[in-house]
Each structure stands twice: as C-alpha cells, then as structure tokens.
C-alpha cells in the first residue's frame, strides 16, 4: 500500500502538469475552436528560453522565470492569436488543425535555431530546488514536484475565479456555444479569443518550465508527450468541462506512474508502455467514451456561412492551357530531375530517388485527405509498417523486396483499416488525435520491439535483385510511384471517389441517398495506408536498412503539413512535396548548413499559408499563373483583328 501511495504521489506531480496543459488546451478550444496541437511546442519554447537564460547566460532564476513564463509565454500566445488564429475562427476544422500542426513542427525548429541543437542536460528548477525534499501525504517529494503541485492548484483557483467573476471570463464561457451567435449578440469574440490565447500561453510557459526539470535533459519530444497526455485529459472532459479535464489529467499522471512502478524495471513493457500510457488512454477514450461525437457543425445554426473551397485549377480547363501544361511537364520535369546531375552526379540521383520515394508516401495523404478530407497524423508510421514488413520478410524468408512492397502494402492497409475504426465513429479533430496517438505508440512501443523493428541494429532491406544499380532503382521507384498515382486517380474517378466527393460536399445529404459514410471512409483509409506501406517498403529498400528511429512520428506531421501546403487534391501536389522534402534539406546542407535546423520551420511556414490557400500554395500559384496565361492568350487572339 505504501508503495502504491509513493507511486501515486509521484504521479500526482505529473498529473498536475497534464491538468495544467489540458486546461490550456480546453481554454483555446472553447474560445477559438482551435485544438492547439502547438501547446507542447509553446511549452518547449518557454522552457528553452528559461534554460538559455539561467543555465547559459547565468541569469537570476526569478528574472529567467519572469522572461520565460510571464513575458515569452503570453507573448507567444498573443502573437499566435493575432497573426493566425483569430483569422480562422470560422474556418473548417482542417484548416485550424493544420495551422496548429505547422506550429508544432515549426516552433521547436525556430527555438533550436536560436538556442542551438546541442544536448541540454539538467534543466534548471523552477521554484524550489529538486535536491531538497519535503513530506507530502506521507511520502517524500522533491522541491520541483512541490512547485508543480502548488502552481497547479494556484492556477486552477485563479482561473476558476477569473471565469466566474470577471466579465471577460463570463464572455469566454459564452463564446463556446457558437462564436457566430455570440458575435451577433454584441460580444467581441476577438477580445475574448485573445484573452484565452494569452492565458493559455502563460499556462504553457508554466507547464514548460515545471516539466523540464523532471527530465534529465531538455528535449522537444518530451513536450509532445505532454501534449498527448493533455489531449487525453481534454478528451476526458469532452473538450468542454474544465473540472473533468483536471480530473482526467490527474488520473493519467497517477495511472502512468503507478503502472510504471509495478512493471519490472527496464523491461520492454516498462520502457515502452510507460510513455505509451497516455496514448492508450486517449485511444481508449476515443473508442469508448460516449458523447464524443462532434455535432458542432450540424447544430451551430450559422455554420452554413462558411464560403465553399475553390475548385481545383485543373477543372478550370482551357484546352490551350492543357496543351501548354503537358509540354512543360514533358520538358520541365526531366530538366529539373536530370540537369543538376551535371553538377552533383550520383548524389543528385540519390536525392531524386529519395524524392520519388517520399512522393509515394505522400501520395497516401493525397488519397486520404485529398479525397475524403480526413486528417491522419500517422502516415509515416504506416510507411514504417510497410518497411519493417518488407525487411522482416527479406531477412527471415529471403523474400524479394518486390514481394515485400506488395505484402508490406497489404499489412499497412490492414493496420490502417484498424486505426480508422475510431474515425468511423468520430472524425474531424478526434481522428487526428487518434492517429497521432498511434504514431507515437508505434514510435515508442511497436517499432522498438525486436520482431518488428529489429531492435538496436534495425532491419536490413536489400535492393531487389536486378534493381541494385542506382539507375535501375530510380526507375523502379518511378514505376511504383506511377502505379500508386494511377490508383489514386482511378479511385478518385470511380465510385469511391464520387462517394467521397459527395461526403465532402455534405455528409448529411450523402447519407440521405444511401451512401454509408463509414464504409467510404474505411475504404479510403485502407487504400491510403496501403500506398503508405508500399512507399515505406520502397524507402527501406532505398536506404537498405531501417530502424525504429527512422519512422519518427514527427515526420508524419511534417509530411501532412507539407502535402497540404503544396496541394492535397492532386497527385502533382504530392510529387512536389516529396521532391521538396528530399531536395531542400540537400541544398540547405550544401549551401547553408547553419540554417539546416530551420528546414522544419520552412515547412511549417507553408502550413501557415494553408489558412489562406486551402487548395495548397502550389495549386494557388498555378491557378494564378494559368489565369495570367489565359489572359495573355486571349489578348493575342484579339490583337490581330
């Protein structure tokens, strides 16, 4: 029993941070409808500032806290609201999600640009020193844990008073129901939103500096775990109820530590399950908690005010343009692919091969998000499933990677179909959460298993016989890409694509003509996962050996963001994204290596354009230039007469 209490008290401090973070999430979700995926990144930003001030510049701790928590935290929140989120309050959920994701990817990258990528050991304590100990509920806790518990209680009390007794607090509670309605009623939703973001920024700052010293070094990934735990807590409160959210946070923290305490030390279970615990809770909640269905869109009486998304550039078809387009594609693409070879020889061919392989994986996003509008944050993990399947088959059964690609695709499709089950019930932001949870679990638990990821040494994936030469493999990759692209185009043209187009237009109306939304989404998720699996196997073969680190969940996020910004509705968008993902780091590495950490910031910046150009920035530019060419052609025709 006393052991239990010890673990529980230990977990209590984690639980308090989770509760704090979850409160921040709910606050902004309720007032601006944005599920702030960037919360963990904000926390990391403040923690990094605090670290730099206190550890590296030897500031006084209080001055550091003032800067990191009171200045940088809220300022970041303020800036995010002013620059981004207030402009997309009535935008579709996808837009909000992608914008937040872009920040999740970009903020740590910017922070590392300023504060360096080096290892940051022993993050400084916030209030009380973690080397002094106190008695709490009959157990020993260190000063930092005490800081966490005291801060959390103080914040919760202050926030409760604020929401109950100040007029802006009351307004915040009203905005939740329908931002459009409230605005009609004369409440300034902008002001309310800003307040929420500033508050949430402050809370993120606090959570950041408090959580940092519980780890041995300051690493941005730990803050993603914070985000997931907070998501689980927020889901427990159904993204609405603050008290339930607090309770959820505590439960996750305590549950995690108690479980970890009883599992044998250093076993795979203890190592993997402990960080996976919040994800398991989240997935469990998503699957089984009743009442999580989002009805917001159907019940908000003013939801129909949103403008429709513009059509694809291709559908503005002018036969002259189509001809020009074809010629440019025939001349331009080979030029881009092959001309730089004069300068870089083999390296360039390898970069291009990688680009083609990435394009295949990114096509899976075109299939899923482009056709059905669903957001999955685990596409690269599904690619990992394909790669490890191909690798295990090759090493154990000596099976050619050509088979590996097929079987890997099938296994990934099956796994994807399984993951999509919560999507059938939920959808929208919850699907994003569930897939993120899977990605993180794959990262922490599934892929490190020996029979999956081959442990430390990874899995070997030889090049298929006959394709071991660089050129041969390049063409193999192009063929696989072409096949997958063909599949996407055929599905889009076919019944499934038509059903999905109808569902995108109006899910309700599609159902009233007998289309099963669940079945169509399930199908497209499986197809998409299959493409990701094939791409993953190909990727594995191109780098000849893969281990669990390579299928980092973070890349799934980056891919999603990248494809959405280049254009999610066309095969071309995926190819642009894939090539960019291979070429840009290569060029940066060659010519501007100190900007290399900014790669992700660069991609993240793209996601911020998404709010303005949901069709994708490349798509947007294309349409603009097509319009210009049309005008020019028209003028030329008019001129002679």
């Amino acid at each position: 029993m006393s052991r239990f209490i010890t673990f529980a008290v230990f977990g209590l401090s984690y639980g308090c941070v989770y509760s704090l973070a979850a409160t921040g999430l709910v606050l902004t979700f309720r007032t601006s409808g944005v599920f702030n995926m960037a919360f963990g990144a904000q926390a990391y930003g403040s923690a990094a500032v605090y670290y730099a001030a206190v550890k590296e510049s030897h500031w006084n701790r209080w001055a550091g806290l003032l800067l990191a928590v009171v200045v940088v935290g809220p300022l970041l929140g303020f800036a995010l609201d002013r620059v981004l989120f207030r402009h997309i309050r009535t935008a579709p959920q996808v837009v909000k999600l992608i914008t937040a994701l872009g920040l999740l990817v970009g903020i740590p990258s910017v922070a590392q640009f300023f504060f360096g990528t080096d290892n940051k050991p022993n993050p400084p304590d916030a209030f009380w020193s973690s080397h002094t100990f106190y008695r709490f509920l009959g157990s020993r806790i260190d000063g930092n844990q005490l800081s966490i518990i005291v801060t959390a209680v103080a914040v919760v009390v202050a926030l409760g008073l604020f929401l109950r007794f100040t007029s802006i607090g009351l307004q915040m509670r009203a905005v939740v129901e329908s931002p459009r309605m409230v605005q009609l009623a004369g409440i300034n939703a902008d002001r309310v939103g800003t307040t929420a973001w500033v508050l949430s920024g402050l809370i993120a700052g606090l959570a950041g500096v408090l959580l940092a010293p519980t780890h041995t070094a300051l690493v941005d990934r730990d803050f993603t775990l914070l985000l997931v735990a907070a998501m689980a807590a927020a889901a427990f409160g159904r993204l609405i109820s603050l008290p339930l959210t607090l309770l959820g946070g505590l439960a996750v923290g305590v549950g995690q530590e108690v479980l970890a305490g009883y599992l044998p030390l250093n076993s795979v279970w203890a190592k993997g399950l402990r960080p996976s615990f919040p994800f398991l809770v989240l997935v469990g909640l998503l699957l089984f908690l009743p009442g999580l269905r989002q009805r917001r869109d159907t019940t908000d009486p003013l939801a129909a005010c949103d403008p429709p998304t513009p059509a694809l550039a291709a559908s503005h078809g002018d036969p002259r343009l189509r001809r020009i387009n074809r010629v440019t594609a025939l001349v331009g693409i080979p030029a881009i692919v092959f001309l730089p070879m004069l300068a870089y020889h083999h390296t360039w061919l390898n970069v291009m091969t990688l680009g083609v392989v990435f394009s295949t994986i990114m096509l899976s996003i075109t299939a899923l998000t482009g056709l059905s509008g669903q957001i999955s944050l685990c596409q690269f993990s599904l690619a990992g499933v394909g790669a490890f399947t191909a690798g295990q088959l090759a090493t154990r059964y000596d099976l050619s990677v050509l088979w590996g690609i097929l079987i890997g695709a099938a296994v990934a499709a099956a796994v994807g179909a399984l993951i999509s089950l919560p999507a059938l019930r939920l959808g929208g932001v919850y699907l994003a959460l569930a897939t993120l949870a899977f990605a993180l679990m794959a990262d922490n638990f599934l892929f490190p298993l020996h029979w999956v990821g081959g442990g430390q040494s990874g899995v070997q994936i030889p090049k298929p016989v006959g394709f071991s030469g660089e050129w041969a493999f390049f063409f193999l990759s192009v063929v696989v890409l072409a096949i997958c692209g063909g599949i996407v185009v055929l599905v889009r043209k076919g019944t499934t694509g038509q059903y999905l187009a109808a569902l995108r237009g109006s899910e309700t109306a599609a159902a009233t003509i007998g289309i099963s939304p669940a079945r169509a989404k399930f199908t497209v998720f499986a197809v998409s996962a299959g493409i990701a699996g094939a791409g993953g196997a190909l990727y594995g073969s191109s780098v000849t050996s893969v281990n669990s680190d390579q299928f980092n969940f973070f890349l799934s996020l980056a891919f999603m963001v990248l494809v959405l910004t280049t254009g999610v509705r066309t095969v071309e968008g995926a190819v642009n994204a894939g090539i960019a993902f291979a070429v840009i780091p290569f060029l940066l590495d060659k010519y501007a290596s100190n900007f290399n950490v900014l790669v992700f910031a660069l991609f993240a910046y793209g996601s911020l354009t998404y709010a303005k150009h949901p069709e994708g920035i490349v798509e947007f530019q294309k349409r603009r230039s097509l319009a210009a060419i049309t005008r020019w052609l028209d003028r030329k025709q008019v001129a002679p007469t």
Partner: protein, 252 residues
Amino acid sequence: MALLEATGISKRFGGIEALSELSLFVDAGDAVGLVGPNGAGKTTLFNCLLGLLRPDTGRVIFDGRDLGGMPIHRRARFGIGRTFQRMELFTEMTGREHLLVAERARRRDGALWKDLLNRGGPSADEIGRVDATLDLLGITDVADLPVEALSMGHGRLVELGRALMTEPKLLLLDEPSSGLDRTESLALSGVLARVQDERTTAILLVEHDLDMVLRSVSRLYVLDFGVLIADGPTAQVMADAGVRRAYLGQAV
C-alpha cells in the same frame, strides 16, 4: 398498414420542447402536407424521421420496419428520400454528377476493384436514367454547371432529382418552393404531381406557400409549438378556426 407511421415522437433542445408526443402517418402513394409557423418543429420532425436526430421518445415504423437507432443511410436505402430546407448540395459537383452518384448509391455496385480496373464510370443505363430524370425536372440545360453557379430554383430541383434517383417510396420535402418565383413553383407542383403518378411515390410536404400546398396534397397536418393542432383532408383543415388563428393569424 401505413407506409410511414410515427408514434409519440418527442424531442427537446435544452429548454425548448420542439416536438411533443407527435404522431402521424403517411399511406403509400399519398401526398400529405405538414404546415405550421416558423419554429413549429417541422424540420425537427424530418430530422427525427430520417435519423439525423434521435427523438427522446417515440417510434418510427416505415414499410413495416422499426427504424429505431438505424443510421441515416440505411433508412435511405429502405426508401426514404429527402430534400433540405437549407440546401445541402455537393459543392464542386455538377447537377448531373449529383444524380449520377445518387443512382450509383441506389444500385450499390461500387466495389473498389471496379474503380481500380477503371470500370467505375457510369454505365449507359445509368446515364439514360439520369437523363430521363433531368428531363422530367426540366434542368437538362443547366445539368453540367457546377451547382454553385445555379439559381436557387435550379438548386432545389437538383436536390429533388438527387432524391428521386434513389427511387424513394416516401419523399420528405422541406420547403421546396422557398426561393422560387411563381412560375418555377408552378412547374415544381407539376413535377411533383407527375412523380406521384408515374412512380407512386408518397410525399410529405413541408411548405409555407399555401397555394403550393393546396395544389399538391390531399391531406394536411398542422403543427404549432411541437403539437399537432389539426389534421384531416386539406379543405376541412383549412376551414378550421383554430388553424386559421394559429397559423394564418386571421381574425375569425
């Protein structure tokens, strides 16, 4: 046995009792009107019949089956079609595509492997049926425009066509003539009459335009604040003093 039989349907939204203990029936091939002032609960009733909302109490029997808890698309497959008061068109699709996808949904032969073999396109038979319906509705010449470009009247006809393609036994029409001018709404009445004759489709019509109601239905329900205040043959209901007071605001 009636085609549609709803008994004791109640639905609350917070403090508002949108429907209370409402019962109605529609016979096969019948045309029934449902009228009432704004906020009476007509749309809410449609939503409950079709499964968009789950009623708090009551049962819906359609064609001998209890629909309780059944998802929307399965109800649709049993033969309930509907149009929406606030139009629900598929953005980025043309009118013809609306009808084609509905036709495909009715046939339910859209297996994935057919798509992958490039056999997912519309068959000659499907195209023929869609053309016939477009013709019936008189929207052939605008059928290839994206629906965003259509007038309200044409949009409503596309919605009607989409519902008709599923060959419903019962058609729930929520204010089909709102936004139409007089000629358009006369034409719509004509179409409804033909649909009813040729396809023996039963119609439950919600409509504020009383002329249209009188033209199209033989029996009428009057709803006020979630309660049925009158029902019976159209002429008889229209003569009812209570109805005139509640609905038409006329002094008696």
